[in-house]
């Protein structure tokens, strides 16, 4: 008797449940837009714009900066809608490696049409996706606006030493810079080399720190890499293929430098900030004297976001400041590749490039294109003007150019991260 009641109860519940699941399933599983043919003809750009008409482009992009998010919506979202009738779906990610994992899972599940149309990417994530053969090939150098890109520049055609091979298209450039507070320090007091930074730190104990190198904190890795250039007597020897012998020769000197520096650091190097924004916060609150940025607008965008005081200014050492490019890539499983191509091309539009470097627009990274390749005089003037409007918070262009070095083979990246962990942090 009781069991029958119970079974009856259960049966009703299960029946209801399966009804609900079935109805949800039919609603939720609306077919995604059929993948447009993978044989998009890049020689016939009009046909691509036509194919993209009405599509939604799913752009997976690091979403940690409110001002960058707004720049993307304002400048690309609107232009896509107005010019091409494309809807921009900006998918904010906490870490781009999440997209890499998503694509790897889709591959393992045998999906030919995924969810991702475009990714903001460089470095390790690009290398992983390239190696897994998950990127759309042969398009980067075929976009109409790629004429403005200086593909002959090794800083453009190598992404952390990995050949780009038309698998991605540049968005912007960045260069390592420091930030100081002009209300507290004169430009003449600033250290201009790693040796001088150590002297400064030991003369002002606890007032210097840097970002811990590690996956996801490329700024810290870059800070250490630049020191490697200095202690080894120059960056040139590190270019080209990975050289184990060179690393073995100089890495002990590198760890010596950092171990000597450590005692003079903030909290005597017992702990380090893990992200750029942690360091900005220490700097803004006066705990340390210098922060780090990669933006061509220097401290400009950070001041606008209220992350650092208005008196913050950017500066560089005399040499060894690594600069690089960042890119957009299209997965081979992109559901809307035509719209992704249109967006990648739009990003290189000289007018939008001129807009992206200005601090008031919130993005603040440098040109992805080479302004000297823009022949239209009006557009060229826009690019030149924008570069002159970066304001006091930016590093002077001549200082940036003088100290610029390109990044080196990706193998050094993990050697530096693991080596720093073992020889500096845990010592």
């Amino acid at each position: 008797m009781h069991t029958r009641k119970r079974i009856w109860n259960l049966a009703v519940m299960l029946g209801l449940l399966s009804l609900i699941i079935a109805s949800c399933g039919s609603n939720a599983a609306t077919p995604t837009s059929a993948p447009s043919s993978t044989s998009l003809d890049l020689n016939n750009w009009a046909s691509i714009e036509q194919a993209a008409n009405g599509q939604t482009v799913n752009w997976y992009i690091w979403g940690g900066s409110d001002s960058i998010n707004r720049f993307v919506d304002e400048f690309y979202g609107k232009a896509l809608k107005e010019r091409y009738n494309i809807t921009l779906n900006r998918v904010p990610m906490a870490d781009t490696v999440d997209v890499v994992n998503q694509l790897l899972s889709e591959k393992e599940a045998g999906k030919t049409t995924g969810a991702v149309d475009l990714i903001w990417i460089n470095g390790e994530n690009f290398a992983s996706l390239k190696q897994a053969n998950l990127l759309r090939a042969n398009w980067g150098q075929s976009l109409p606006n790629s004429n403005y890109v200086n593909w002959a520049n090794p800083a453009v055609n190598l992404d952390f030493g990995e050949p780009v091979e038309s698998l991605e298209s540049p968005w912007s450039s960045a260069q390592f810079q420091f930030i100081y507070d002009s209300a507290k320090l004169q430009a003449s007091e600033l250290p201009r080399s790693y040796a001088a930074l150590k002297d400064y730190a030991c003369a002002n104990p606890g007032k210097v720190s840097y970002i811990a190198p590690g996956p996801g904190a490329f700024q810290g890795t870059r800070f250490v890499k630049q020191a490697l250039f200095e202690v080894s007597g120059g960056a040139e020897q590190w270019l080209g293929k990975f050289n184990q012998q060179l690393w073995d020769q100089w890495s002990p000197k590198l760890w010596d430098y950092f171990n000597q520096l450590e005692a003079c650091l903030w909290r005597e190097g017992s702990t380090y900030p893990k992200t750029e924004n942690e360091l900005h916060s220490l700097f803004a609150n006066g705990e340390v004297d210098f922060s780090i940025t990669q933006a061509i607008a220097g401290a400009g965008s950070l001041i606008k976001e209220n992350l650092v005081p208005a008196s913050a200014r950017a500066f560089v050492f005399d040499d060894n400041m690594i600069g690089d490019f960042n890119y957009v890539a299209i997965p081979s499983t992109a559901p809307n590749p035509a719209a992704a191509l249109v967006l990648a091309n739009l990003i290189l539009d000289p007018e939008l490039q001129a807009a992206q470097i200005l601090p008031e627009n919130g993005f603040g990274l440098g040109y992805g294109i080479d302004p000297t390749k823009v022949s239209d005089p009006a557009l060229a003037a826009k690019l030149t003007n924008a570069a002159q409007q970066l304001g006091d918070a930016a590093t002077p262009a001549s200082d940036l150019a003088k100290s610029l070095r390109s990044d080196i083979a990706a193998e050094y990246q993990s050697l530096i991260e693991q080596g720093w962990d073992a020889n500096v942090l845990r010592k």
């Binding site: 519940m13 609900i20 949800c24 940690g64 906490a94």
Partner: protein, 261 residues
């Protein structure tokens, strides 16, 4: 007397973070050693409120969390009932299996399930995200319902049946009212856990489903405190409202042993 002090200290510990969110969301350019922010500004907070992406994420979170708490009760009720009211071989084992998700990290289950869900066409759908949320939610629902079934007097059900009530009638008019407090608590718990899921939503949603915690985590990766605080406020408001609505059930012993007149 000392009891009252403890209550106040606890209340303070719980309220201070919310106060900090309020300060950080509206204070702009507040750097040490300044005692007071440069200025108070609601522009960033209001912009978040008006942001279409945030509104969509809020709506999806709401749908998912509501769906999850309903599904969790539907699965959790029969499970808890059988586990507590019956004795059978392997009962302990099954109870243990229900609690396994609380010790297995959700990244591990999430990555594996993502591939399964992709094959089934469930990845990137609301239903898929709801189903995967059941994994961390069910243990708590079964535990909450189970503890009140342990003190549940089935004779009331028998009495109703003897008087001619159909099983369906018994369920709605006897079992549910008696268990109402613990059903509410379990449902709210399911809502709270689902509302704050990040890793599983990210993996199974695959960017097609964007929930509030995903916006919160991506903001946190940037470290802009005003933005994080604004989103946190928006994140906790519905939870506080919900807790306020069901507060009267939270304090009561969730047994249902004493039927109300």
């Amino acid at each position: 007397m000392s009891y009252r002090i403890i209550v106040w200290v606890l209340a303070l510990i719980l309220l201070v973070p919310i106060a900090i969110f309020l300060v950080y969301a509206f204070a702009q350019g507040w750097f040490f050693p300044a005692l007071w922010p440069e200025r108070w500004d609601s522009a960033l907070f209001l912009r978040q409120l008006a942001d279409p992406q945030l509104r969509r994420a809020f709506g999806q979170s709401l749908i998912i969390a509501t769906g999850v708490s309903m599904l969790a009760l539907m699965f959790g009720y029969p499970a808890a009932r059988v586990l507590e009211l019956q004795t059978f071989r392997g009962r302990g084992l099954i109870y243990g299996l229900f609690f396994l998700p609380t010790v297995v990290p959700s990244v591990a289950t999430g990555i594996g399930l993502n591939i399964v869900f992709l094959r089934l066409g469930l990845a990137g759908t609301l239903l898929g995200v709801m189903l995967v949320h059941l994994i961390p939610v069910l243990p708590y629902v079964v535990l909450t319902l189970g503890s009140s079934f342990a003190r549940y007097d089935r004779n009331y059900e028998h009495q109703a049946a003897v008087l001619g009530a159909s099983p369906w009638f018994v369920f709605w008019r006897v079992s549910v009212p008696m268990l109402l407090p613990s059903l509410v608590v379990a449902g709210v718990l399911a809502f709270l856990i689902s509302w704050s899921q990040y890793v599983l939503s990210l993996l199974i949603g695959g960017g097609k489903i964007i929930t509030l915690p995903m916006l919160l985590f991506s903001a946190a990766s940037g470290g802009n405190q005003s933005l994080i605080a604004s989103l946190s406020l928006i994140f906790i408001t519905p939870l506080l409202l919900l807790l306020g609505l069901v507060a009267r059930y939270l304090g009561s012993p969730a047994t249902g042993a004493t039927p109300r007149p």
